[in-house]
Assembly symmetry: none
Homo-oligomer: 218 residues x 4
DNA sequence: AATGAATGAGCGTTCATTCAT
DNA sequence: TATGAATGAACGCTCATTCAT
């Protein structure tokens, strides 16, 4: 079973939306702002990502930051959208390869996800997102949009492996597998106690998931 | 297959440490403070749990709060210790029942954990902890202490089921199972999109976990 | 012996540093802040000079004060620098007059210093500085910088009067004279018991100092 | 001329007043409190001498401190009185020695005062007092009481040396000498830039003062 | 597009004080 | 005599926001 790591880690790119007034300078500044804000979020967490600190670490003046993002919420939403869109884009153009068996594709999908977890950005960003989603409906919905899109390939794979199961069961299998992988972030993500054991974790998890789909009896 | 919910959900109790000196009144006040602080943490998150808001929602004056907890860190540490101790206590006196087979005990253990996940406290508290642990070494260590203690019963069960496996493999099996269950918090916890499907999730997960332990080949 | 008071008392002016950027309005606000802070320091002492009180007595909002001086230390340092620079400036352009004998210049120098002591600002400001210098190394160094500059003219005068003495002795003569005058602040400064006797004090002190330099035998 | 240092430095003792309820324990506690408060005042200054810190550094509980000194002002006043009384006592029983000439007694008196200045307590305590006296009439009066008593021996000495001078002139001579010595605290006190030069300062100052008294012409 | 100035609110902390135990 | 509990106020600081330049 192929276990080589994915060629391009997802989520390393920020997809910054265009604006109506398409000045290049402003676009560059917004890029810088979002990149810097994400760095702070990753490094020191949500509450450290203040407007002042973002401006300061950008090397721009405070007034300029509020020109581009009038309120903190504006900044936060565009940041989360940009980060999430980055993850979504990677998923879209990596997973679909028709030359593999469903088992191989399941294996490959899980490799991709688990290989991404030890990255500092993923280990730091998603727990912030999970916590925020509990208190902010906008973030909650946006986050579950992302996960729904991320599970879509799994649905196809599981449907191919188990056409006998009802759709709800297949979806829930996908959910359990996805949740299981997310959960490893806490224990084997960047700088976590079991980071060094990620290889064994991957083997146990992936073989377990394949078995789980293959053998599940309703 | 036994799927009845556990009789007492863990984590609903705060274990507030005694003090060598002090009157009953002070003890009651400290209890109230911690209970209120936890409620705010659960409802509105970490940064909403300010000293002022805790005092205000306690119905006590700010000065009195700082009398009992001189600094926010004092409050936070005693709160986390009290919450975590509550979870640990439940684990300690529920899991050890010698009259069951290892498979039954694994099933029971997972039932216990998964039954707790939809509780509002657990769904809200642990993601906060995961996010905080990324930026606060004290919280990081305390959290992984808790999880290590929570995995201990799993180690016994898996050792009984698979004495042939080396300890590291058994530990990692336990870790994967534990992480998988934690991951469901995000998707099927309180008010989450798949909360209603927790029954099916439990069935898929638990039968999958039992299979995973039973059939794992190094 | 000439005893007419100096034409311009030193230390009545605040030398507020320019900033590279900024509007006139901001400069005026900073001037007002420092002037007000000094007034409070003089009137009610160091610990009364709180950020809140400065803002309030300025008629500006607290947030605006912290905009101009982010921390109290920023404010304090710029204030001390401005006050001290005011004293230094006066010393610089008053003392050097070549048309006088050394004795006349010594007399004139002491006149200048002693005439300044009964001013409320000097009587109040310097004892605060002396107390603070005991607990704050920055203030300690800045204060002794000021005094070193203030003694410089004395060194010249004494060198002219007593070229036979070694430099260390001349410096120490200057120090004793300077210290003696500073000490009168406590007893004959503004609103002090012997304020009314400053004329006699000046006569006794100055004739004594001139004699001391003229007649000192190592 | 005799220049050996005084046998017992003044101001090292706290004279704590008795109370009507003469329990020994309470007296001991008050001693400890005042001693500790003075240490804090000397070490970190006036504003650092808070009730809380005094209690904490005493090793007694906060409530107990407020039992002995109901308000901070109570503590401060008794502390200052005790310290000042300590200095006064030393002056009283050291200075009067009939077997010396007036010049010798003047020398001896100045030796005594100047020898005390480099002590940490004196260097730190008096500048605090000078600053406080500018803003607190009670302290102002008490301080000048102390200095008046301290100058009394000088008046006798100067009267013996210069019976020809009118009393006001003699008093002012005493004042100038006293003020001159106090002023050296700032420059040659404990940890001050010219502390190492105190020997030369003493010689210059004392010979100068003797000359000043001997030769002053109204 | 970018900066400077000003506001109002909230934060954690320290403090002096009063009162019950 | 000593401690615990509670209050109210002020502290320095950071923040998001608005508006003029």
């Amino acid at each position: 079973m192929p276990t080589e790591p994915a060629e391009t880690p997802p989520g390393t790119e920020l997809i910054v939306p265009e604006r109506t007034t398409g000045y290049v300078k402003g676009r560059e500044t917004r890029d810088l702002i979002l990149r810097t804000a994400l760095d702070i979020l990753i490094e020191d967490g949500w509450h450290a990502m203040s407007m002042r600190r973002v401006a300061s670490e950008c090397g721009i003046k405070f007034g300029n930051l509020t020109y581009h993002y009038r309120t903190r919420e504006d900044l936060v939403r565009e940041l989360l959208d940009a980060v999430i869109a980055g993850y979504e884009r990677e998923f879209d153009h990596i997973v679909y390869r028709a030359d593999l068996t469903p088992e191989q594709r399941l294996d490959r999908y899980c490799q991709l996800v688990l290989d991404d977890i030890p990255s500092k950005q993923t280990t730091r960003f998603f727990p912030e997102l999970w916590a925020l989603a509990n208190h902010d409906p906008f973030i909650h919905d946006r986050m579950h949009d992302l996960y729904a899109r991320a599970r879509a390939p799994l649905h196809d794979i599981i449907a191919a492996m188990r056409p006998d199961l009802p759709p709800e069961t297949r979806e829930t299998l996908a959910l359990v597998i996805s949740a299981a992988m997310e959960g490893t972030t806490i224990f084997a993500g960047h700088d976590k106690p079991f980071a060094a054991r990620m290889g064994l974790i991957k083997h146990i998890a992936i073989t377990g998931f394949v078995d789980m789909v293959r053998r599940y009896k309703p």
